[in-house]
């Protein structure tokens, strides 16, 4: 459990004190002919809580898929703990501590909560430690224990989120990738959910979350990136991003003034995000 890394705000310059846990080095990815990720550089350090912001179709989920190995980059490198894992399958990466909590939770609805948790630990063979980890999940979410033999599809949204996180924790991850944790949850639950994420992070886990809800995400994150149509357009600490006039304008709706500082492309980018947010 290392403290937050002294935030390296720019790309993979290689002069950071420690090697990043998970890194993307000028990654390009395509869906058929569509260029979904364009020269994306990300570095996630041990113990950090970082977020990737962006509107619909900006490439957030693609980034996650690429990190997890469900999509192969066309160029660039995905580096896990110093090892280039471009050609390694998802299972290899999961076994080495990269785990995802999917968007909208996506539990195995017809399976019980226990079966869902067991599937989280699918690649592990240390049954005793798996049992211990399950106890830890129960400590974290006593609610989950009550529902253990219930079919997960019958749980409420908040409980499903707990199971989804619990399932991911069962893989004993080193870095947790969270795809839109606030998606499809009532406002009160969104708040609760972010507190949960903070709690997990404080327990020593590195968290990388992908969000549209920038305000909420930045309020708990150390650093963040803004992704727009496949490109990283902003890369800064959370405070700076929160204070950033463009983000202010697009997410908080407080700053009415136009922002001449960053040039047209960025304004356009954030306008696009704001437009997409409306729908």
């Amino acid at each position: 459990m290392s403290p937050s890394h002294p935030a390296p705000t720019t790309g993979p310059d290689g002069d950071g004190a420690a090697c990043p846990l998970l890194e993307m080095r000028s990654v390009n990815a395509h869906y058929g002919a569509v260029h979904a990720l364009i020269d994306v550089n990300l570095a996630i350090y041990e113990g950090e809580l970082v977020c990737l912001l962006g509107g619909n179709a900006s490439g957030k989920s693609t980034t996650l898929k690429t990190l997890l190995g469900m999509l192969k980059p066309t160029s660039g490198e995905v580096v896990l703990d110093g090892e280039v894992v471009n050609d390694k399958p998802t299972g290899y990466r999961v076994a080495r501590g990269v785990t995802m909590v999917p968007e909208n939770r996506r539990l195995f609805k017809r399976l019980t909560v226990r079966e869902n948790l067991d599937l989280g630990a699918y690649l592990r063979s240390d049954s005793q430690q798996v049992a211990a980890d399950m106890e830890r999940v129960f400590e974290l979410f006593p609610r989950v224990k009550e529902r253990l033999n219930q079919k997960s599809g019958t749980l409420s949204g908040g409980e499903q989120q707990m199971v989804a996180i619990g399932r991911a924790l069962m893989a004993r991850p080193r870095v947790l990738l969270m795809d839109e944790p606030s998606m499809g949850l009532a406002p009160a639950l969104v708040q609760q959910n972010f507190e949960l994420i903070q709690q997990i992070h404080q327990a020593g886990l590195t968290v990388f979350m992908v969000e549209q809800n920038a305000n909420m995400a930045l309020s708990i994150a150390d650093r963040g990136w803004v992704l727009q149509t496949g490109r990283v357009v902003l890369d800064d600490t959370a405070e700076n991003l929160l204070a950033h006039p463009d983000l202010q304008a697009s997410y908080l709706g407080t700053a009415e003034q136009p922002n001449p500082i960053e040039g047209p492309s960025l304004s356009e980018a954030l306008d696009a995000i704001r437009r997409e947010e409306r729908y």
């Binding site: 469900m70 299972g91 999961v94 399976l111 219930q150 409420s156 499809g184």
Partner: protein, 618 residues
């Protein structure tokens, strides 16, 4: 702890006793509902009449000399709709009216309309000739409907019969639970004894009770009039004495927990096994043949259940593996196979068969499993046909005999102890039983294994399963291979039993029947699959194998269809649904119950929540 009780446990509140209200007025009805039920019944009656079932089955007497099977199929629908009309949905807090004259009058009206369908048909039959599209539009049918009299007699008598039976059906509601049970048991006992005549005679002969069978049945088929009365009496008394015992026992079993439950289950399994081992000794050839056929389909259905029920791969070409198993066994054991004649002993051949079928499973599976959903189903359908056509083709006829197939397949020798062939169905059954037991054990273990869990994960959500680190391609291939191997067992036994294999034995219909068995029994549930095979194959018969209802074999597919429709409406989870499936289908009710109890305080509002957060942000 697997029972539904544990799941429902705290979530389902105990339902209050249904409130009872005074009977509804006799002549105030929801006439629209009566018209709907009656119209459906009338159309159904016409359809049954024109399906030629009454004419074909008229020869077969049910109760001698009053009732033939042909008339029986025309008589049950009015009773059924008359009874159905009186149905009231029990809702919490809404009183249920006590049955009274209302039910009888309603049943009368529904039955009248149902009988009216046949009256109209009789008149139409007399005045128009629609033989061209409707092959069974014949004077014989008219004669049957008119009981040998003229058309107008037919028109009137069916109105009377329909109304009478409908009213009788409605009147059943008036009976108290005990007498209703007795009446239903009596009717079912007589109908059962009559329809299952051949089975009963066969069993009676096996147990040395020919005298009883002779008493019960008339010489030319059908239950004797007085024996029917006697049987009804005995069964009615038994029903009254044993009322509720069975249900009570089942409830108690469902409530058992932990080791007690395991022990009870073990006892049940042991009892079933003992019955299955002992029963064939007392059964004649016919019954054993039937049991053997059911066993072959149980094997196939268990194999398909792994593929469809556990891994969620809709395989419509499953017959391919049955065919490969049969042909391999035939080529390896028969001296007459066209190209190679290793003449292996059956058990040695079986090992080779398993290996080859497994490889074929891999070979077919590899391209297929990369697809999803509908596309996958269509491609498997294609592969099923391709395999059959390959066996039929001239190109491979040098190996597999083309349309002539391979004949004179020797009996299956088991360690030199016995020879199993179709001439002794009892031995076939025991052989099938061994493999069924093996298949049940393998399915049961797999379902609870790591691989089984991975299958279920892939079935639920393939993308997320992949994200969990499951190698979805390998896992799905494994399902294909396991299914293929189980199917090949059935094929190898089939080859030895029948003694010959032809491409015509492996039509696409076989695939469909196996799938229907799995769906009908309850997908993903071993007991359900076995029950499905017993009902569909045992009672109705397989694609080519006769069932208990030999008379109905011509109308088998019609009845399959009707059963499937009924099942989709009444028991969507299958005959014996797995706990999991029940949970899925009653998910709404359970959620509602939980909500009623105040256990769920935060509901997932999905999109609304999103839009409201977005609004709040602005």
């Amino acid at each position: 702890m697997t029972g539904s009780a544990s799941v429902a446990g705290s979530a389902v509140p105990t339902r209050p006793e249904a409130l009872s209200a005074p009977p509804r007025p006799a002549f105030s009805h929801d006439w629209r509902r009566i018209a709907r039920i009656g119209a459906i019944a009338a159309l159904g009656q016409m359809f049954i009449a024109l399906s030629n079932m009454p004419v074909r089955l008229d020869e077969r007497l049910v109760v001698k000399p009053v009732l033939s099977l042909g008339y029986l199929v025309l008589l049950f629908l009015p009773v059924a709709v008359g009874y159905r009309h009186g149905h009231q949905t029990v809702r919490e807090g809404v009183p249920v009216s006590r049955p009274g004259l209302h039910e009888v009058v309603g049943g009368f009206s529904c039955g009248l309309l149902a009988g009216g369908g046949l009256s109209v048909l009789a008149v139409l039959l007399a005045h128009f000739d629609l033989r061209e599209p409707l092959v069974n539009w014949s004077p014989i049918l008219l004669d049957l409907l008119a009981f040998g009299n003229n058309t107008w007699f037919a028109a009137v008598i069916w109105l009377v019969i329909g109304a009478g039976l409908g009213a009788a059906g409605g009147a059943v509601r008036l009976l108290g639970p005990v007498s209703r049970r007795a009446v239903v048991t009596m009717a079912l006992a007589v109908a059962g004894a009559a329809v299952l005549e051949s089975l009963v005679v066969d069993l009676a002969e096996g147990m040395g009770l020919e005298a009883l069978a002779d008493r019960l049945y008339a010489r030319r088929g059908g239950v004797n009039w007085n024996s029917a009365l006697g049987l009804a009496g005995v069964c009615g008394v038994l029903a009254v004495i044993g009322r509720g015992r069975l249900r009570h026992a089942r409830l108690r079993h469902a409530e058992l927990q932990g080791t007690k439950r395991t022990r009870a289950n073990a006892a049940l399994i042991a009892l079933t096994a003992a019955a299955l081992i002992v029963l064939p000794l007392f059964a004649g050839k016919l019954t054993n043949e039937l049991l053997a056929n059911v066993g072959l389909f149980v094997l196939l259905a268990l194999g398909l259940n792994v593929v469809v029920g556990l891994a969620g791969i809709l395989d419509l070409g499953y017959v391919a593996f049955f065919a490969v198993g049969s042909y391999c066994a035939a080529v390896l054991t028969a001296a007459t196979s066209p190209r190679i004649t290793p003449e292996m002993p059956w058990l040695v051949a079986l090992v080779v068969v398993v290996v080859i079928t497994g490889l074929v499973g891999l070979f077919i599976g590899a391209p297929v499993i990369r697809m999803r959903g509908d596309y996958l189903a269509i491609v498997t359908l294609g592969f099923g046909e391709i395999i059959r056509l390959l066996f039929l083709s001239d190109w491979l006829s040098g190996w597999f005999g083309g349309a002539q197939g391979i004949t004179k397949i020797p009996a299956a020798g088991i360690f030199g102890l016995t020879e199993v062939s179709g001439t002794d169905p009892r031995r076939v059954f025991y052989l099938v039983l061994v493999f069924c037991a093996l298949a049940v054990y393998v399915s049961w273990r797999l379902e609870r294994s790591r691989l089984g869990r991975a299958w279920m994960a892939v079935r639920e959500d393939e993308t997320v399963a992949e994200a969990m680190g499951i190698n979805t391609v390998n896992v799905k291939l494994m399902a294909f291979v396991v299914g293929a191997v189980l199917g090949s067992f059935s094929g190898a036994i089939f080859a030895a039993k029948v003694g010959s294999v032809f491409p015509a034995s492996f039509l696409i219909l076989v695939s469909i029947v196996i799938l229907v068995v799995v769906i009908f029994g309850g997908m993903g549930n071993i007991v359900g699959v076995i029950a499905g095979a017993a009902v569909l194959i045992g009672v109705l018969g397989g694609p080519k194998q006769p069932g208990l209802l030999v008379e109905f074999s011509e109308f088998k597919l019609l009845i399959y269809g009707a059963l499937l429709i009924w099942m989709m409406l009444a028991r969507p989870a299958g005959l014996i649904p797995s706990v999991r499936r029940t949970r899925e289908l009653h998910q709404h009710e359970m959620a509602q119950d939980a909500w009623l109890q105040g256990q769920v305080d935060d509901e997932d509002e999905g999109k609304e929540a999103r839009s409201s957060t977005a609004a709040a942000r602005r």
